[in-house]
Symmetry: C2
Subunit: 710 residues, 2 copies
């Protein structure tokens, strides 16, 4: 966010929880003395408080009038920002000045198998960066500054804790550093621009303002390395008590910062590789921005913990900080399988072990019926793991937000499990989970109908957990009934179809011939049942198969992403077994992608439901992928313009000040929830739409578990 | 502070860093349903945010209009607060409702010697408390609430972490609980007054609002116990790496909370003992409030850490959080010697070992001269220990605030050391520190003059550390030159006299006959030198013996507190060896304690300097003690009225919202610095002015190291 503080935050609900000024900029003497010359800073700050007033009382110097400060924030027309897959780069002064933060991910093997040095490179809680100036045409030296204004928390010069680095830490918890070779001068006090009070080494340790000041001599171009690190010792989670995994391989914050600088070249090169992959991906500029922004927010939401059972993977749900929300896991899947597939597997295992349950169903008259296995919505919230079998989200006696998502999560386990096993080619794991897969199939059948003769494949019952008066919902919880209600829901029905298609695939792998045939039959039946809901008069599917619902939804096609992703061509062949359904969906989508239906009449942004102005980027991205791959005929010019609209939403403060935002009001482009959200990585699927190959064979590294860098 | 959030904070710079709403109050049905009946809350909150908006988007319920909330904050006329030495009690509804937090200190032996159970009782990081209602005359049950609104940090039900207590924690760091026997109902969600969303156990764990709700049946009076605990694992300090001492005896936060409730009766009884001691002390109501407020702020500023060298004692300097600021240590001395004298000793030892230095002196022409030992102003800041030989405060080339305090801290070591050894009767320690005492005496001499023949006892040189253009200052750093300049300073000269008196005493103990005689001779010489500065024309001493200074200061008498405290009657006998000086000081003080001089002309508050409106409560309290004991003839009616003025300053929001405040503008009573300050415990000296005996023989306990409870 421009003209606001930012900086360091841990396990944060968003950028707003980082409350430091960040000082990044340059100072050109321009014939003036250093005291007179003004600092030009990137707009990551508000005017610093004058903390010395508390010490000096009535003798404190007056606060400078606006405009009289020894710095100016660069205005939007004075700088240029480039967000790469693994970098965030800011340039100014005709590109002479540059600043970049690097957060390259890399393919991480199962943490249980990592060697010490490998683990350090892959899991360091560090973000590297650089600051540079091209002074080759200059006649006077130029100063560069990287600093932090932290009035609530004075910082500690690194040398005082036995480090040879130049830099500062906020206690043992977080800090920044550069290498001794950079020749940086350290500043600390109440004012890093014009320090009035200096001790024997030129600092004033009681001051909350710190900075590194670098000099670029006239005639030279220099780039200086930076490392920003975190370190939290001991137990950080409750419910399941665990510590950060990196504490196994790093002794303290000084170790982390030294590592970041020692391996600076590696991280810099790796970030370049990641950036180049996206640059050359064939995606257009808007798509690249959307994906890059999504990756950054996803990374910020990840934590790798470790307890007696080994690694414990967490993706936080953005501002809500729910742990491993299953309807996000199923969307992160496509990204995670390319980078850390063991995280998907471990999450599935923990869902089985701790977050599964067997419920009963409720008939319309309240009669209880046998149900079957399902899984909770999430594993807890804010580093707190909820008790066995329960989420932090789901409540009773509700028909909307916060109700149970029993069917949704049941499908999510099936879809995630089979997609993982197929993509990772992990037949062993599939075999170990055969019983769970069979239980899931049985549970899906029972939720359709107890009597096999009366089944049509579509969910008709609610979990007993909903309680009297309650009804199951879907992941689209805060939308209107078009996507919120689980029973007789178009989105969920097609997703159920996807699950049966994947179950057939899995049962075949497991040589469960009979069960595979049953899954195949059920899929066929369900496809027919859905097709039968098509409205010939309107050419649309209704969003909910009851009460005369006439909402039109794009996630009607979401269930096809799984066979599409796994290359199960029989299921996605428009002349094949699902030709009727696919043909009707083509018609549905083609009509939906019109202004006033599922394109916002005002902004032209994609709306996931025609009857709600609340639209979700992650789900748009997923639908876009399926539609561009399966229903390209629906992609009219207005629909194609969506990427620019969606990217501008995220670029502007209405979303951008909160990192990646998922829930957006389609009429304004302003977020209404799901800020700092990880789920946008569904856009990772877009890469498979282009001819550019996904990269591979990069040397191991990354700040993957450098969790929640604000 | 009323009508503001508060709550839990650790290592905080003041109450403002605790950013939670605290819900404490009662609900009487009054014939209405529970949903309709209103909660009456103590004013520790602002209207809670409606956090569900982030989840529900456009479907979120409207925020209630002011006045429509299901609670009302009690107005000042509706409640009564009583601050005891060890308790903070609030009553309302004609005393039927009561709430109290207990923080009883107890005499703590050297932590190295503590048995496990003893350490747990004395050093538990817990504050206990209770909430009660007298419903003996009621005909309907009354509900009581203790809760916390923590929108940035959802909390974890204690049972989820294996605890049998009712309550909540913010991760592994802090939380609150009651005993299972209390029958409290737990609430958690977006709204604890009217919870809309409830899971299988009636909670909603994603919500940041939590509470315990207790029921008092009609016809009964019930008091329910509370425990508020903290727990921080691992290294918390830098420079010297150390952990909280309590982590040696407590395994986690759940252990701390369980301990607090298990030993609730003990802490409650101990708090009553502490309260009663103050109640029956003979101090008047204003004095009791000032002392109680001071003790609370002192306790909040203490930390007991532990590293390889054993215990590591910290008193933070209030909002500045400097560690063991020596000019505060010398003032805390009188309180600490009654409660934890080993802390004084350990601090003195660390000053010798790590925070002493040998400097040179600067002549007027810049010539360097031999100096001698002295000590730094402090040991660091914000849990960061500065490097060997340097403070966080002192800077170079200054003549005011942030300059060096070399002579001040040299005197502070002598005064603290001898006072400790005498009061604690620790001759062993005195013998081990004989060399340091001798070095201090030599350093004091050299700072007077290199040539013994030219000495008059008064400081004439600045430490070389001040640097060119710099000059030493005193602890009165932010006042005008009347107290700020060290050389030729009345306050410092009389304090130097106190140091020589104590050195004579120490050298006699050590059988250093010659050195004792030298100290005695120097004291006599110095007393004459000071007396010679008296202005017969005005009847005052000047505050600085140069440049025609005419400021009048009360701390002229501060140096006499040490012989007075130790009962060195020869030194305080107004007919004895210092009779001339004492007589002149009597005249000085009698004239100073007049409106317009050192009584503020408008408010009648005591001013430590006639030429500064910045006055410091801790130093007023110390001067009051010396004046009432040694110069009672100066205590005119206006001067006697000071206690009421000073207490009202601290009671009103201008100071009171920041806990104990030291620096106050005498014309307004509003603080201008030194908020949340520990130094007010100089008022502990007042207890020796009354006939009531100081208590002793209380069973061991206390939340002494429950550091920085906001």
């Amino acid at each position: 966010m421009l003209d606001r503080p930012g900086g360091f935050a841990q396990s944060a609900s968003g950028p707003h929880q980082a409350r430091q000024n960040v000082y990044v900029g340059y100072q050109k003497a321009g014939g003036q003395s250093e005291e007179q010359a003004q600092w030009h800073l990137l707009p990551f700050l508000t005017p610093p408080e004058k903390a010395e007033t508390a010490y000096l009382g009535e003798n404190a110097p007056p606060v400078p009038e606006p405009g009289e400060e020894p710095w100016r924030a660069l205005q939007p027309e004075q700088f240029e920002r480039t967000l790469g897959a693994a970098s965030d780069t800011w340039r100014a002064d005709e590109n002479r000045f540059g600043f970049s933060l690097l957060s390259p991910c890399d393919r991480v093997p199962d943490p249980r198998t990592l060697e010490h040095e490998q683990a350090r490179r892959l899991l360091a809680p560090v973000v590297t960066g650089w600051i540079e100036y091209d002074n080759r045409d200059g006649s006077e030296p130029v100063q560069l500054m990287f600093g932090l204004g932290n009035p609530d928390r004075s910082m500690c010069p690194l040398e005082d804790n036995g480090s040879s680095l130049a830099g500062f830490t906020a206690g043992p918890a977080y800090g920044y550093a550069t290498s001794p070779e950079s020749g940086a001068v350290m500043r600390q006090g109440f004012d890093v621009f014009a320090p009035k009070f200096q001790d024997q080494r030129g600092l004033h340790v009681i001051g909350g303002e710190t900075a590194l000041v670098f000099t670029v001599p006239a005639g030279e171009k220099k780039r200086f390395p930076l490392a920003l690190g975190f370190y939290v010792q001991g137990t950080v989670s409750t419910g399941i008590r665990a510590a950060y995994a990196y504490t196994r391989w790093f002794s303290d914050l000084e170790d982390v910062l030294a590592h970041g600088l020692e391996h600076f070249a590696h991280y810099e090169q790796l970030a370049q590789v990641r950036d180049r992959e996206l640059e050359t991906s064939g995606l257009d500029e808007d798509q690249r921005f959307l994906l890059a922004q999504s990756i950054h927010s996803y990374q910020g939401n990840t934590e790798l913990l470790w307890n007696d059972d080994g690694p414990l993977w967490i993706v936080n749900e953005g501002e809500y900080r729910m742990i491993n929300t299953f309807d996000l896991t199923v969307d992160h899947l496509f990204y995670e399988l390319d980078w850390h597939p063991w995280a998907v597997r471990d999450t599935l295992d923990l869902f089985v072990k701790r977050y599964s349950y067997t419920d009963r169903l409720m008939d319309a008259d309240g009669t209880r019926l046998p149900g079957g296995i399902s899984f909770t919505h999430d594993m807890g919230v804010m580093d707190h793991f909820t008790p066995q079998g329960y989420s932090s989200y789901e409540c009773d006696h509700l028909t909307g937000c916060f109700s149970h998502m029993t069917m949704e999560q049941l499908l999510n386990w099936v879809l995630t499990a089979v997609t993982y096993a197929e993509k990772a080619n992990d037949l062993d794991w599939l075999q170990r989970n055969q019983e769970t897969l069979l239980a899931c199939a049985e549970s899906m059948h029972l939720r359709d109908h107890q009597d096999p003769a009366q089944r049509n494949g579509i969910l008709k019952f609610d979990s007993e957990r909903c309680g009297d008066g309650g009804a199951e919902i879907t992941t689209y919880d805060s939308l209107d009934v078009s996507l919120g209600q689980a029973r007789n829901n178009l989105y969920l029905a097609v997703k159920t179809l996807g699950a049966w298609i994947l179950l057939e695939q899995a049962f075949n792998r497991l040589n469960l011939t009979e069960q595979a045939a049953d899954a195949r039959d059920t899929a066929d039946l369900l496809a027919q049942s859905v097709a039968a809901q098509f409205e010939p008069d309107t050419g649309f599917f209704p969003a909910v198969f009851e009460k005369g619902n006439r909402s039109r939804i794009l996630p009607a096609v979401e269930g096809f992403v799984y066979p599409l992703y796994l290359g199960l061509e029989e299921a996605t062949d428009k002349g094949g077994r699902f030709s009727e359904l696919l043909s009707l969906l083509s018609q549905h989508i083609s009509q939906a992608l019109q202004p006033g239906v599922c394109l916002d009449a005002k902004t032209n942004g994609w709306k996931i439901s025609s009857t709600s102005n609340n639209t979700w980027f992650s789900k748009i991205a997923l639908s876009q992928h399926v539609i561009r791959r399966l229903f390209p005929e629906a992609m009219n010019a207005a629909a194609k313009g969506g990427d620019r609209v969606h990217a501008d939403w995220q670029r502007l403060p209405g979303c951008g000040s909160n990192a990646m935002c998922d829930q957006i009001i389609s009429t304004t482009g302003v977020t209404c929830g799901s800020r700092y959200y990880p789920r946008g990585v569904t856009a990772w699927l877009w890469l498979s739409e282009t001819d550019a190959p996904l990269s591979n064979g990069v040397s191991p590294s990354a700040s993957l578990a450098a969790s929640n860098h604000g």
